[in-house]
């Protein structure tokens, strides 16, 4: 399967930079998936969860509050304000979940968007 470059940048630094198979993003007009060779696109990102399908087949979820994404044929760049990685790798998943929920609730997004994002986070939490 083809791969593309994905970069997630926050004000405190680059938190993700690797080759991925696919990424699902919470666009302001609805969730959308990006595969390699996607047409150039710029979109606002809403409060939600970015799901990354990594090159080795595993999935990684990152909760974000808001931001932008710039997609072109080779590369996807997410510029987000705040992000919490929901991976079980480094330590406490429960703490990460709590932090993600806090991050989501701190935004000015509509209550339905917050509820949707929180339920998604909880769903991911259950899968661990």
């Amino acid at each position: 399967m083809e791969l593309m470059k994905l970069e997630i940048v926050t004000p405190t630094g680059v938190i993700f930079d690797a080759e991925v198979k696919q990424v699902t993003l919470p666009g302001s007009e609805g969730e959308f998936g990006v595969l390699p060779k996607h047409a150039t696109l710029v979109s606002l990102l809403d409060t939600g969860v970015i799901v990354i399908n990594k090159a080795d087949g595993s999935e990684l979820a990152v909760a974000i509050n808001s931001g932008y994404v710039k997609v072109d044929e080779e590369k996807t760049t997410c510029i987000v304000d705040g992000a919490v990685s929901l991976s079980g790798e480094d330590g406490d998943i429960a703490a990460a979940l709590e932090e993600a929920k806090k991050l989501i609730k701190s935004t000015e997004a509509s209550s339905s968007a917050i509820a949707a994002a929180v339920s998604k986070v909880e769903q991911i939490g259950k899968s661990y």
């Binding site: 405190t12 696109l41 510029i79 304000d81």
Partner: protein
Amino acid sequence: MANLKEIKRKIGSVKNTQKTTKAMKLVSSAKLKRTEELAKRSRVYAAKLTELLNEIAQKMHQNNVGGLDNIYFRDVVNPKVVDIVFITADKGLCGGFNAQTIKRVNQLIATYKAQDVKIRLRAVGRKGIDYYKFNNIDLNDQVIGLSAAPNFEQAAAFISDISAAYARGETDKIVLVHNGYVSMIAQEIREDQVLPIDASKLALNTVSTSELEVEPDDDDTLLEALVKRYVEYTMYYSLIDSLAAEHSARMQAMDAATTNAKQMVKELTVKYNKARQESITTELIEIISGVESMK
């Protein structure tokens, strides 16, 4: 001897000062390292954001016959109201760091005053606030504590008041002045025009590879959100930059102070030794003449 004792006391006090300045230098250099790291990481974000803004602006530029026509990008020829935001430190003991910024702000005020422009001052940092309060110059807005510990939310809240005023048309131009970090031994005054964004700085004529699709479909919504973020980030980045410069300035100042103290101790020690020898000589003469007189 009273004189001897006094010199000794002075040496002790200078030595103590030297200890303090040396410690402050060490603290500053440690803090500088941390701030530098922070600046390095956030520079990536700033670069990406500018890149994105660039592309959107470019798209609007291509689609618009008359070039960019947006309140965030227009050219101000005769501004009526200008907001000056400036960043100083909360603490002193960092050489001319704060004085330089204030000097530049005063220059700006003088230039705009000559053009009959109304100025609104917005200060970050205790030193700048104190200076203008002392001189009875009104400040429109002031924050203490933000320049010592830059925090994105707080910085964003501070600047978004101003950019909201800009969007409402209350001000025509926002200028940000701060003392920026160049290297361990150098700082440089930076004066940035925050809004309107200087279109000449954006590379508008590069050719994009494919048609840019935008979501939401309305360019203005996206641009507005992006500009808001850009402004907030410029503020935040300036705060970090200023903090790094503050630490490097303090490091330098404290280094100089330590060297001066060392020099002073040396001079005082020489003086002390001379005074001691003098007193010994006097005593000897007294003893000898006493013995002579008894003969």
